[in-house]
Amino acid sequence: MFRAQKKRVLERTTFGHEVEREQAYPDRLNMYLVPPLAEITLDQFEEWAVDRLRVLGEIETCVFRNIKAKQMEQSVRPLMEKYLPLSPNSTSGGGNKDMQLEEERKKDHYSHFILRLAFCRSEDLRRRFVKAETLLFRIRYLSVDPSERQALLRKYDFGWTPVSDEERDDLLPNLIFASENSSAPFEKTVKSESYFKVPFERVPELIETRRVYMKAGVAYVPSSLQLSLILSEFSAKLERALEITARALPRLDEDDRLVPILNHLSKGFVAPEYVPEGGDHGDGVKAWQVDSLVEHMPLCMRTMHQALRRDQHLRYYGRQQYGLFLKGIGLSVEEALTFWRKSFAKTTDDKFTKEYRYNIRHNYGLEGNRKNYRPMGCQQILSDAAPGPNDHHGCPYRYFSEDNLVASLEGIGIQDRSVLKQVKDDVKAKQYHVACTRVFEASHRTLHGVKSLIGTGVGMESITHPNLYFDRSLQMAKEAEKIEQASDEHAAAAATIAA
């Protein structure tokens, strides 16, 4: 359906003789279920897409920095107003005003569908696009009038069955125990709350966190969680639509005017990812040097290094995470093989060759699909597999108990009570990268004369990648060394003069 539509846009890139079919936009909130029907110029095509991309890009940056919903709205709103405004119906007054409303909504509608083309082309792009679009929808949903929300619910059939008062009263204890807010007045709230029944497949994120009562495959969702339901509908529908578009897209590649624009657009939506400086350290790092470099590693990598030294073993995800990190600091594949061979001291050569060697070489792009893997950033580490009982990978700020975290931090020399408290607060607020940044700051204070390159202050770089932590730490140590040498020479010179 959409493909056919797209074709028309392509075939006639300017408003031709054909009369443009007027599309009415009575509401601001759009679930984007119907593709646009009219044609637009190639210039509009690109301009509108770029404008929407600015907004989505800011949203993704906020996600990347782990910024909370409230703050996110504050930093995205100015961009929304500038590039993707949506005025309420109340501002209409006939004539030009109405034209403007129509134009805003049209731009919103079209730009969304144009970006679908650019972002349907890989699983990763689809996932990120859905996430950013869903957050944009969320910001808008929360900012519109209640009457507009009601209009949305009327317009789209979400397939929710209301729970009768009778059934609700029957299930009351269960509904209460499943509800998130179980403080004293909650019973009253639940009694007056209205509930919907939905098949559990439609609310995976409520199931995932056990926020609703489940019975025989049906989730009982309170209306207070309605937003979550709508958002999951929104993202599920968008996900499906993107997959369909992706399957239809190869045929679009025949059009050489559009492809460059789409390629360009999808590149514009790349979250800032740190590229490690490893390999620039002269001859690289040797296997035997790793132990002496531990002091420059962030807590996650130190934890794995210590576990590796203690157990002479590290489980799969740990080897992946730490192995790629070491690659990032400049360990060549030969040195990596040496390092892991020696570290797995209890393992026979034969077993090592059979079970571990391939994976190490794989990470260096020498086996399998020959992809040269990059070290994992914090975001990936945070979103990948959580550590099991015998694992040591993952972000310690997220997975350590508070006691163990404090003990580990004290172990690396963070004794300052106020710093430890701030770190604990960061962790409670799920601001794991801030916690790590704070630890960097605190542990690099002793390097007199060298300005910290990392910090929690305004405009300072914060930790988003374990290799960034390492590279900056090493860089500071080297500068401190230079200063020390210089002052030693200075002192020596002064001593000579004095003598």
Binding site: D124, A178, K354, Q380, A386, P389, S401, N404
Partner: protein, 508 residues
């Protein structure tokens, strides 16, 4: 699991390489359909054990054992399992490779396995587009095998004599054609929702056995886990066709076969897996239970189930806090310092108190009022958390999260123990004892014995009986048969309903 997505943001990923750990290995992918037609010796691929999670995993250990036994140079503490046999090994432990042809030829219930995966008497795409993966006895790993019929499947298994085979998803095209169809036309469509419970994950709370050993004491962990998960799958999620299977050594798998479960995508599988996740955090998290109160109805019900067997399984069976040192672990999970001091004092002075006594001491001392600061609610909640921490099911969540994860088939023979991966009755898991599970060797002997005893029987009389009926495998095959019949019946009913609905809508 790590996903290295930052490298090629704009590149469309091969759907077959999507997320299953196995599929990351392209060594594995070299071995596709070609193997079937080649008469030359099978190429050997070193199996990427790591792709399966970790080497401590039960299923995986099987592969590792097999690997070690192959290499004569490496000093190995484990007995040869798959090596060519000159002296017959014990029939009760380990696997004699020479039992495999007989097992596959005469005992493996191919017809039932076919019906189980196909849900219909004649082959449908549920079977023909289904991926099988074979691990051969030389450790070559063949992925993307598929078969047009139950007979073709049986024939190939009998030809290759794999040490085990795994079952993957139904794809949108025949897995053997995946290289010739367009990339986007080859994607996984459905697979049973699976769960994997392995004793390895209980090692920090298990005192009776170590490593790969199990006994009936620690098997209780698995029994309780089955009870908790099975009940929630049925009551909370409304699934009806849940098959539990012994993994052959020290764990169990669940296959949820309802249509609704089979069609869940990855994000919904992840949601279900997380619903069951109560213990959080890795080795460094000292307290892994952090739950809101009052407890969610699912957790509350699970806790009730656990509480019933906590005394026998943990306090008596494992006795985890008998020494002064190990009792500190218990104290670290309790909320009140003054109470802890009193307990510590009591235990130090009265010498050797069992975990059962120590557990009772907590409430006894609390009631005596040894602490002025004690909050009874906190204590109650802490004790609930202890029960959950020690006994709540420990699932390998990654296995459940991916549509294209492969899992060992029921009725395979575990290469390490020789035991058959038989079904476990999920409604009465306590009746299952892994020590009773027959090995391939025992079964072969049972057939021979039966044939000897019944030598005088007329041959038509003898042929009435299937070979499995002559052996202790019989009740397991019969259970499986009943399970599959129930599933097929349900599928047919649904199909008729769908047809009635669509024809109805045409009439109007």
């Amino acid at each position: 699991m790590p996903s290295f997505k930052t490298d090629d943001l704009s590149q469309c990923r091969d759907p077959t390489e999507a997320s299953s750990p196995q599929s990351q290995s392209s060594v594995v992918q070299q071995f596709d359909g070609n193997i079937q037609t080649s008469s030359s010796p099978t190429p050997v691929a070193v199996k990427e054990d790591d792709m399966f999670g970790d080497e401590d995993d039960d299923d995986f250990e099987a592969a590792a054992d097999a690997l070690e036994s192959k290499s004569s140079s490496a000093p190995s503490s484990s007995a040869p399992m798959v090596a060519p046999i000159s002296t017959p090994p014990s029939k009760t432990a380990g696997l004699d490779a020479s039992d495999m042809p007989i097992f596959y030829q005469r005992l493996m219930p191919f017809k039932e396995i076919f019906q189980w995966l196909n849900h219909f008497p004649s082959p449908t795409t549920s079977f023909t587009n289904r991926e099988f993966a074979f691990t051969l006895q030389n450790d070559a790993y063949l992925r993307y095998q598929s078969f047009p019929t139950s007979d073709a499947f049986k024939k190939e298994v009998n030809r290759l004599l794999p040490s085990r085979f795994e079952i993957g998803p139904v794809y949108s095209a025949n897995p053997r054609d995946r290289k010739i169809v367009r990339k986007t036309a080859f994607r996984p469509l459905e697979k049973e929702l699976v769960f994997d419970i392995d004793m390895t994950d209980y090692d920090d709370v298990r005192t009776c056995c170590k490593g790969t050993d199990i006994c009936s004491k620690c098997w209780n962990f698995i029994t309780v886990a089955i009870r908790v998960i099975d009940q929630a799958l049925r009551e909370d999620f409304g699934f009806q066709h849940v098959l539990w299977v012994y993994s052959g050594r020290r764990g169990a798998h669940a296959w949820v076969c309802d249509k609704r479960a089979r069609t869940l995508d990855d994000s919904k599988r992840r949601a279900v897996a997380s619903y069951f996740e109560v213990l959080k955090g890795g080795a460094q998290s000292s307290k892994r239970v952090n739950l809101k109160r009052p407890l969610h109805p699912f957790v509350a019900r699970s806790l009730n189930i656990l509480r019933d067997s906590f005394k026998d399984t943990i306090l008596i069976g494992q006795d985890p806090w008998r020494t002064q040192e190990s009792a500190e672990k218990l104290l670290s999970l309790l909320p009140d310092r003054e109470l802890n001091d009193a307990l510590r004092k009591k235990w130090a002075s009265s010498g050797d108190r069992s975990s059962l006594q120590k557990w009772a001491d907590i409430d006894a001392l609390a009631e005596q009022g040894v602490s002025r600061t004690l909050d009874p609610t906190h204590l109650l909640e802490a004790k609930q958390d202890v029960i959950l921490e020690y006994l709540y099911p420990r699932l390998d969540a990654e296995v459940s999260k991916h549509l294209n994860h492969l899992l060992k088939s029921p009725f395979c023979v575990h290469p390490g123990t020789g035991r058959v991966c038989v079904p476990i009755n999920g409604e009465r898991p306590e009746t299952f004892d892994p020590m009773d599970v027959p090995t391939a060797g025992m079964l072969t002997a049972e057939i021979n014995e039966w044939d000897m005893v019944h030598k005088t029987l007329d041959s038509p009389e003898r042929e009435k009986l299937s070979d499995y009926e002559k052996t202790s495998l019989k009740p397991y095959v019969e259970y499986f048969h009943r399970f599959v019949s129930g599933l097929m019946k349900e599928e047919m009913k649904q199909k008729r309903q769908r047809e009635a609905e669509s024809s109805g809508s045409l009439d109007f």
